[in-house]
């Protein structure tokens, strides 16, 4: 599960910025004002999704909207590109979806 894995990203700035609450794989989570969805998730966890074919974990690559490797799902099935989507309060994100997603 996401909470017992070390995060991929390490915050250097904005550590004391206002907290933004969201849900990650069903668990309450906090990002910081100014976060993209990618930064918020990877400051807590170490992957964004699993691939459709092999099911291997992915965590983005280009961070500039080009590689399309960072798409995550909301609980309602909407797809969001994490690196270009600002974190919004109350987002409910699922990263544990496997091949079936």
């Amino acid at each position: 599960m996401s909470e017992d894995r070390l995060p991929l990203l390490r915050r250097i700035t904005r550590k004391e910025h206002a907290a933004i609450a969201f849900t990650l794989d069903g668990a309450p989570c906090e990002g910081r004002a100014g976060d993209t969805l990618l930064s918020a998730i990877l400051s807590r966890s170490d992957s964004l999704r699993r691939t459709e074919f092999s099911g291997e974990p992915r965590a983005g690559f280009c961070q500039m909207g080009a590689c399309q490797d960072c798409w995550v799902m909301t609980e309602t099935g909407e797809r969001l590109r994490a690196c270009t989507t600002p974190l919004q309060p109350g987002m409910r994100i699922v990263t544990m979806t496997g091949k079936a997603a």
Binding site: L8, R10, R11, C62, C67
Partner: protein, 465 residues
């Protein structure tokens, strides 16, 4: 003001900003569309919120250029139309489809400036899809725009000026840089002597980065081969060969890239003719010295038209705007146009020297292991590509796509097309240009399905108000 539709500028990086500025000065009111929430492009990208760092902290020696560009853009207030966070996803004959604020809008334009920029060029190596491996550009975005490091002990690998710049920026930010692994042999850097008279600042800055990295004990290895990233579920180390010896380092983050590649999809949709560029090893849209494409009214500027860097992008952006003004029969400064072209020619010579100093390791393509993923989206391996190439006697990349799915995924080949062409060329023994280029398709990037469907009927409102 004329009653003709407004010019459309795609991209608000250095090229797009200077293009818009010259169009405004020439009496036009352009529409500027950009995917980012704020202007600056990738190189002068701005943070989403202030974070206690100054712009000098963010842009270093380039702070003056960044500040001037951001200020120039702020001064457009009321003089241009600006759609940030907007994706131009389709183009044909003076009409563009743009997703903005949750809806797709159809816009008529008269004069199109494509300033679409670039992303990292990569060749696949084992482990390049592991979480924790990012492009060099992505590593820089994390640090600059988000104030996050990609790890606590980081390795930077590949080639190109960005390799040393990003490593230095991480070191300055207090992150442990375990090593810089340069694909180029140490002797390649001798070519910087040719670059010195063309732009002493750039060469001296690079030299300083290397000296400071060494001083702080960062290992800098050159001429590396057999690069691979290791780890279970996330990256935990890097391995490579050097002078025939195997080497290995533990790390929890990797920045990787082999210089840059141009974003040319929109030029393709606009119908521009392409030519093969030896230096960039890529098919690029044809343009004259002013930046006119092969299609009347379509202009190309910045790294999206061929890699030349941010300083060239500013000049090319202004130059194409002058060409657009001229082609619309408006007054423009001829002497200024000639001066910009002379500067662009000087920078082109500089790029030749830099390319020799940071050469692309084309020979890596033949060495990519068959089991290595080549296409990240569709998870096609290098072996599958080679097998398809030999079984169906394929030497061209669009045919390869049809039989192997390589380049068919969501990124439209942005991350794999250059590598596929290299692998194909290595497998067939033909020159790289024979592999051709992937044809672009609308939408050039994924857009929400609901919007896509809404856009299908031809009954959308004309948005060129």
């Amino acid at each position: 003001m004329s009653t003709r539709p407004q010019p459309l500028v795609v991209g608000a990086g250095p090229a797009g900003i200077r293009a818009a500025e010259a169009l405004v000065a020439g009496g036009l009111r352009p529409l500027v569309v950009d995917e980012a929430p704020a202007c600056g492009g990738q190189i002068y990208r701005q943070r989403l919120v202030p974070d206690g760092r100054s712009t000098r902290d963010l842009y270093g020696s380039e702070v003056g250029k960044a500040d001037r560009l951001h200020a120039a853009f702020a001064a457009f207030e009321g003089k241009i139309d600006y759609w940030p966070q907007a994706l131009l996803w389709n183009l044909r004959d003076g009409v563009a489809d743009i997703v903005v604020a949750g809806a797709t809008r159809r816009v008529s334009y008269d004069g199109l400036v494509l300033a679409t920029g670039a992303t990292d060029r990569v060749l696949p190596v084992p482990g390049w899809t592991l979480p924790g491996v990012f492009t060099l550009g992505g590593s820089q975005v994390a640090l600059k725009a988000q104030g996050c490091a990609i790890g606590s002990r980081v390795v930077f690998a590949g080639s190109g000026p960005l390799l040393y710049l990003v490593a230095w920026q991480y070191m300055k930010a207090g992150v442990e840089v375990a090593a810089v692994l340069d694909a180029a042999p140490a002797s390649a850097k001798l070519h910087l002597i040719k670059a010195l008279p063309l732009d002493p600042g750039i060469v001296l800055r690079g030299t300083r980065f290397v000296a400071e990295l060494r001083l702080r004990g960062v290992a800098i290895r050159t001429g590396i081969e057999g690069l691979r990233f290791e780890g279970e579920g996330r990256v935990s180390g890097v391995a490579w060969r050097e002078g025939g010896r195997e080497r290995r380092l533990a790390c929890d983050g990797v920045g990787y890239g082999l210089a840059l590649r141009s974003e040319t999809q929109l030029a393709d949709l606009a119908g521009c003719a392409f030519r093969f560029d030896e230096r960039d090893r890529a098919w690029l849209p044809l343009r004259d010295a002013a930046g006119r494409s092969s299609v009347a009214g379509v202009y190309l500027a910045g790294d999206g038209a061929g890699i030349a860097g941010a300083d060239a992008a500013e000049r090319a952006g202004e130059r194409v705007a002058l060409a657009l003004l001229e082609d619309r029969g408006l007054a423009f400064d001829k002497a200024r146009a000639a001066g910009l072209e002379a500067e662009l020619a000087r920078i082109a010579r500089l790029r030749d020297a830099l390319e020799a100093a940071f050469p692309f390791p084309a020979h890596w393509a033949a060495a990519i292991d068959d089991a290595t993923t080549l296409c990240r989206c569709e998870e096609v391996t290098a072996g599958t590509v080679r097998e398809a190439a030999s079984r169906f006697d394929i030497g061209e990349i669009n045919r390869l796509k049809a039989v192997s799915r390589v380049g068919m995924g969501r990124c439209q080949g942005r991350m794999c097309a250059a590598a596929s062409a290299e692998v194909l060329a290595a497998a067939t023994g033909k020159p790289i240009e024979a592999a051709g280029r992937l044809r672009a398709q609308a939408p050039v990037k994924p857009i929400p399905l609901a919007l896509q469907l809404a856009a299908e009927p031809a009954k959308l409102p004309e948005a060129a108000e």
